[in-house]
């Protein structure tokens, strides 16, 4: 059968290089995880936060920090947020009196925008509850995806068993999680990103997105197998990857463009949410092209070798 694809990229031939690159990225993430750790937000660790916006100029963060340290609030974190905002976080929950005292300090020399604030108090009961719920949601999402992909490909048991499609999609997913965690750790260290509910939401969305990308290629592999495209399995997979390359890149691009607008114009609440999604979508696109499908070929070859 004649194939009308010009300029095919040989994903399969260069796959080992990309495995190496992927592994290196994962190692960097793990290194960050063990040396710095994740920066959990008050959603998950309890505490309180105060966000305010200044009318004109924002006071220096170091000044605010030293002023607030005099109030005996325990551990205080102060950082900039958005253009004119300041975010303060405490490990203790705040009562009204203490909050008013902090506000008084904040507007000592610089005027605040009226009505432009956010206060939050989260006790340990709630944060623990949230952490449990989140763990469950993440775990069940992974399980459901694994079952779904295996089931969707149950009809193609040759040349690789259907569960292996689920497995490689899952490995790609684990890669995405590692990359996102790595980026979160890095941004947490240098830009004040915190792992909170929106970030976890972004993580779950990327699960769906990444698997979706892998499934589109798998679908193409299934079709090619039925049509008998390619001389062997690795060629079938490579064709499928090239055939779906345009779609994968364009879909990612359109989604990233919308998210870029959200990132740039959407204000501080959704800033890191959009950023996390962009990172995840790039990683999801990469992993479905360079990890999920190429690994199928390895699994196939490994089986083949063991049989002989």
């Amino acid at each position: 059968m004649a194939l009308a694809i010009l300029n095919m990229f040989d994903f399969i031939r260069y796959r080992k290089w990309f495995y190496l690159l992927s592994l290196a990225l994962v190692v960097v993430s793990l290194f960050g995880l063990f040396s710095w750790g994740l920066n959990w937000g008050i959603d998950f660790r309890g505490g309180s936060s105060i966000y305010v916006e200044y009318q004109n100029e924002r006071p220096a963060i170091s000044d605010l920090r030293s002023e607030l340290n005099q109030l005996d609030l325990g551990e205080v974190e102060v950082r900039t947020a958005g253009e004119k905002g300041v975010m303060i976080q405490l490990t203790e929950t705040l009562d009204d009196e203490l909050r008013d005292e902090i506000l008084l300090q904040l507007e000592q020399d610089h005027q605040l925008v009226e009505g432009s604030y956010e206060f939050e108090n989260i006790s340990a009961t709630i944060s623990q509850d949230l952490a449990n719920k989140t763990q469950r949601a993440v775990f069940i999402s992974i399980l459901v995806i694994l079952i779904y992909v295996s089931w969707a490909f149950i009809k193609i048991n040759r040349p690789v068993p259907s569960w292996q499609y689920g497995l490689t999609a899952l490995l790609a997913l684990i890669f995405d999680v590692m990359i996102m965690l790595g980026v979160f750790i890095f941004l947490g260290q240098f830009m004040g990103l915190e792992i909170n509910v929106p970030i976890i939401t972004a993580l779950l969305i990327v699960f769906g997105y990444s698997v979706n990308d892998s499934v589109v290629v798998f679908d193409r592999i299934r079709e090619n197998l039925l049509k008998g495209v390619g001389r062997d399995y690795s060629e079938t997979v490579n064709y499928a990857l090239n055939q779906s390359l345009g779609r994968t890149l364009k879909t990612s691009l359109t989604t990233i463009v919308v998210l870029l607008f959200l990132l740039l114009l959407g204000g501080s609440t959704l800033y890191f949410f959009a950023l996390a999604l962009i990172v995840g979508i790039i990683s999801g696109t990469y992993s479905s092209l360079f990890i999920a499908s190429p690994l199928l070929v390895d699994l196939y070859q490994w089986r083949f070798k063991n049989r002989n």
């Binding site: 009226e114 919308v258 959009a274």
Partner: protein
């Protein structure tokens, strides 16, 4: 499908789009019979306070926990309604012994917090007659005369331009004195008639020229904000309480309180099958109840919770000073067991029993989470995210046209329809409240909505390259990309479903809108795009090769 059918379907689609648009964005183009709805905004976008309380139900049998929590919710809801919050929401959080309270527009929550956390007060009141001796009457009259004189003096000072708030702080007998006499916003029927008549007759900033007399005493009223469309005004007042000189009947507390009630439950009268409420007092309560009933045979005994009637008796949907629930004592009751019977529905009996219980066995609650968003910040967030969404939408449309030319243009049109329908659904489905998370979900679903189109058009390009005729290529494109579109939508819907099941309100808001977006995008990407392309590819458009991707 025949061409005629396609045209018919197109007209239907356009009509639906027109009405959706008119519904979403009302203007002169909106027919008057179309229902008017506003978007429902979450607290993060309109400002307000949300609180989570943890109820301590230890010691209660498992079967009663749900009931007890329901009772706490009920009591809190009553209190917030008295507080005058517009559209509050009190909900039990599933799977947890927690209550979520949302109060839009409330930014100073100290007062609300104090009120919500209080222990419910259940009171039983009896009617007493007040008789006054002529000497008592005279002295009261004298006192009231002095009060009136002072009120006149203060009125003169207020009219002369002295600071109203300061005068209120100094002289007013109303609890509002602390806030400079501010009463907040209210409607005509919220206040006693004499007060409302005077307050609503004023102009913004104006002070009453004479003292206003009501059953509470003398008021000096200043309107601080004029009447809005919903009939609300804001006003401050200075109150000079007077001694009641009228003889008559008053509700007076008996020695019986919620502390003496052991339990209360709804039941059915074995004889008549009517709903009744059974009360059981504890030992001390039984004695007290005996005394109270003994001296009130044939008289009503009113039940108050938190200072107001236990249920809505006027049937206006809210509980206020005009409601009064007072069953008549039939006989002296010994043994501490009583039954309230009479013409009441099952729901009413359940309400009474639950509220009696919540007054008898107060469930301790603890504030575990609190979030307040300022109104300005909320509005800002809304504006910014809508702005971002609009630009994102435009960018996608341009990208699609660059990638796929004519079909890309068609998908851009479909995307506009997608957006209009999605917004209409936001207004239409009462469960959808727009939050930051929801807008994030909507923006993401716009990005994902074109995914199906990208799959179809890529496939179409391949088919064209393989030498198929244009109409064949279009049809094959739709048909052959379906398995991928289906699988992809399933995974996204699955994830949205899991988020919905296990998520917090942020995640739920996101998941719901994302799920809705996925469904709608299937409709717009497959049905709408295919219809529009079918209508075009047989005409002149087909001959213009540059319009099609290759």
């Amino acid at each position: 499908m025949s061409r005629r059918k396609n045209f018919l379907f197109l007209i239907l689609l356009l009509v639906a789009a027109y009405f959706s648009f008119a519904f979403v964005y009302p203007g002169w183009w909106t027919p008057s019979w179309l229902p008017k709805h506003d978007f429902r905004y979450g607290l993060d976008l309109q400002g307000g306070a949300s609180l989570i309380y943890q109820a301590d139900l230890t010691g209660l049998p498992e079967a009663e926990k749900g009931e007890a929590l329901e009772g706490v919710r009920d009591v809190i809801e009553r209190r917030i309604n008295f507080f005058g919050v517009a559209e509050p929401r009190v909900a039990i959080r599933e799977g947890a012994q927690q209550l979520l309270i949302e109060m839009p527009g409330v930014d100073n929550i100290d007062e609300a917090l104090a009120m919500i956390g209080e222990t419910p007060v259940l009171e039983f009141k009896e009617l007493v007659e007040v008789e006054l001796t002529p000497e008592e009457l005279a002295s009261i009259e004298e006192e009231n005369q002095a009060i009136r004189q002072q009120a006149e003096e203060v009125l003169a000072r207020a009219l002369a331009g002295e600071d109203f708030a300061q005068l209120a702080q100094e002289y007013s007998d109303c609890p509002s004195a602390e806030d400079g006499g501010q009463l907040g916003s209210f409607q005509f029927e919220d206040m006693v008639a004499e007060f409302s008549e005077a307050a609503f007759a004023l102009e913004e900033g104006q002070i009453t020229s004479d003292l206003v007399e009501s059953s509470f005493g003398y008021h000096i009223i200043k309107q601080t904000r004029g009447q809005d469309e919903e009939g609300f005004i804001e006003a401050s007042h200075i109150l000079f309480s007077i001694q009641q000189s009228e003889e008559g009947y008053y509700w007076q507390n008996t020695e019986l309180t919620g502390r003496h009630l052991a339990t209360a439950r709804r039941s059915l009268d074995a004889m008549t099958g009517q709903a009744i409420v059974e009360l059981e007092f504890n030992q001390e309560g039984a004695e007290l109840f005996e005394n109270v009933t003994a001296r009130n045979v044939g008289q009503p005994l009113a039940i108050f919770l938190d200072g107001f009637s236990i249920i809505d008796t006027t049937g206006d949907g809210k509980i206020d000073a005009s409601d009064l629930y007072a069953p008549v004592v039939q006989d002296k009751i010994t043994g501490g067991k009583a039954v309230i019977s009479g013409d009441m529905g099952a729901q009413e009996a359940a309400d009474i029993a639950r509220r009696l219980r919540s007054g008898a066995l107060p469930v301790p609650i603890e504030l575990v989470s609190q979030k307040t968003v300022g109104p300005t910040l909320g509005r800002e967030s809304l504006e910014k995210s809508l702005y971002a969404a609009a630009w994102g939408l435009l960018a996608i449309m341009i990208l699609m046209i660059i990638f796929y030319r004519f079909p890309g243009f068609i998908s851009a049109v479909a995307l506009i329809l997608f957006t209009i329908f999605l917004l209409a659904l936001f207004k239409l489905i009462p469960q959808i409240t727009l939050t930051m998370a929801g807008i994030g979900g909507a923006i993401l679903s716009i990005g994902m909505a074109v995914d199906a189109n990208v799959l179809i058009f890529e496939r179409m390009k391949e088919e064209i390259r393989e030498g198929r005729s244009l109409d064949r290529a279009v049809e094959n494109g739709f048909q052959r990309s379906w398995p991928s579109i289906r699988d992809g939508s399933f995974t996204t819907l699955g994830i949205a479903g899991i988020m919905w099941l296990f998520g917090t309100s942020f995640i739920r808001g996101f998941a719901m809108i994302l799920g809705l977006g996925v469904f709608l995008s299937l409709f717009s990407a497959i049905i709408v795009t295919r219809l529009l392309l079918r209508l075009c590819y047989s005409g002149k458009v087909e001959k213009l090769k540059w319009l099609w991707p290759s």
